[in-house]
Symmetry: C2
Subunit: 200 residues, 2 copies
DNA sequence: TGATAAACTGAACAGTGTCAAGATTAGCTT
DNA sequence: AAGCTAATCTTGACACTGTTCAGTTTATCA
């Protein structure tokens, strides 16, 4: 009969899902807790039994997005054998995730909940962990001298191109997936040479 | 006597300034048009005679910030002679502007008003113009083959490191200006090698 | 001087996040 | 199985938000 019970059952998950739907269709600025509650068939006060406030709901989505980005990056790396190709694959996966899921990608770096990164030790933090492993492999072959700098440079390049594509001057290009692919191909090729830069 | 006149005189400018103050102290999320109006000694409806809505006020600040970033980048380039040093100087100026004025930097790329970039032809657009000139100089010496790709790569790297510093995992480092300088020095050194990458 | 337009006020509206008091029910304990 | 406790949800309220609109004030210029 499915008559809605007083106790929803798994409201928390439903709230997260409905909130994400709103974000993806109307953007994060149009997100309203009340609308989310109504969509979930629940009163405006109900969400506060599962989230401290609106920001915490959003933070929950950010963590989910971070995990997805981390997972696809890792999968991309494992699909290759040489460390050069791994690095390239990670970069491509990262940028494509941003272009295909701009709202979710923005969530991860939305400046309010940057605590997602700080909470864990750097070597175990999501994203960093994937990158670190690959760069260490490059170091082992002598293609990288300073792992720390190389990781930041690689991440910086890839992250920068991603955000220029979704929020910057490259935005008009971001709808044409073929063009994006070509660009990403060229840019990530440069990645390897960045790492191979001589010491002085 | 300075008794506040009914016609404020230069309300538009004052609104922009007060809004910026709020943003810099409490962050953009806490910005309220009503508070800005009150701070300017004016009623809640007054701003609407100068801006279509709140977003347009913010867009005004974004344009100002873009101009500042453009100006300091250009100045940095002109302080150097060799194109390699110019590129490096632009990168440093860009990242330092972001670290020293994070709120204003974010404004420029805040996804709502990305139209600032699209409105002008790419070669005359702010920021791009500066970068383009330098990269063309590098091309003239044979250090760059594809100007387009080189520009995007350079901008991407610098922009990525900047946002990783203010909104990403490098945030804890961003308060220590000395550490930031060291990092920027190393990363921008890599810039030149990125451009010097062989064609295939 | 007088008319037109610009600038500003004050009140109102719908919508927001958030909280407290009370109703409802799930789940454990005896 | 009964009853108690804690979790969950509702209802109603509060302060605040962006925005609009009718009316008031003043600058500007013919």
């Amino acid at each position: 009969m499915e008559k809605p019970a007083y106790h929803h059952g798994n409201l928390k998950q439903v709230l997260l899902e409905e909130a994400l739907k709103f974000i993806e269709t109307d953007g994060i600025k149009a997100l309203s807790l009340r609308k989310v509650a109504k969509q979930a068939g629940v009163s405006p006060g109900a969400p506060y039994h599962h989230f401290k406030n609106k920001d915490e709901l959003i933070a929950g989505l950010a963590v989910r997005s971070l995990e997805k980005l981390d997972a696809t990056s890792e999968a991309a790396a494992q699909g290759q054998i040489s460390p050069q190709e791994k690095l390239k694959a990670v970069g491509k996966a990262y940028i494509l995730y941003a272009v295909e899921n701009p709202e979710q990608f923005r969530l991860v770096f939305s400046s309010e909940q940057s605590g997602s990164f700080l909470s864990q030790p750097p070597n175990e933090a999501p994203l960093f962990r994937v990158l670190y492993k690959v760069i260490e492999e490059l170091e082992a072959i002598g293609l990288v001298s300073n792992v720390q700098v190389a990781a930041i440079t690689a991440w910086g390049l890839v992250h920068g191109v991603a955000t220029l594509l979704i929020d910057g001057p490259l935005q008009p290009m971001s709808t044409d997936l073929e063009q994006v692919n070509a660009l990403v191909e060229e840019v990530t090729s440069g990645l390897i040479y960045v790492q191979a830069a001589p010491k002085r």
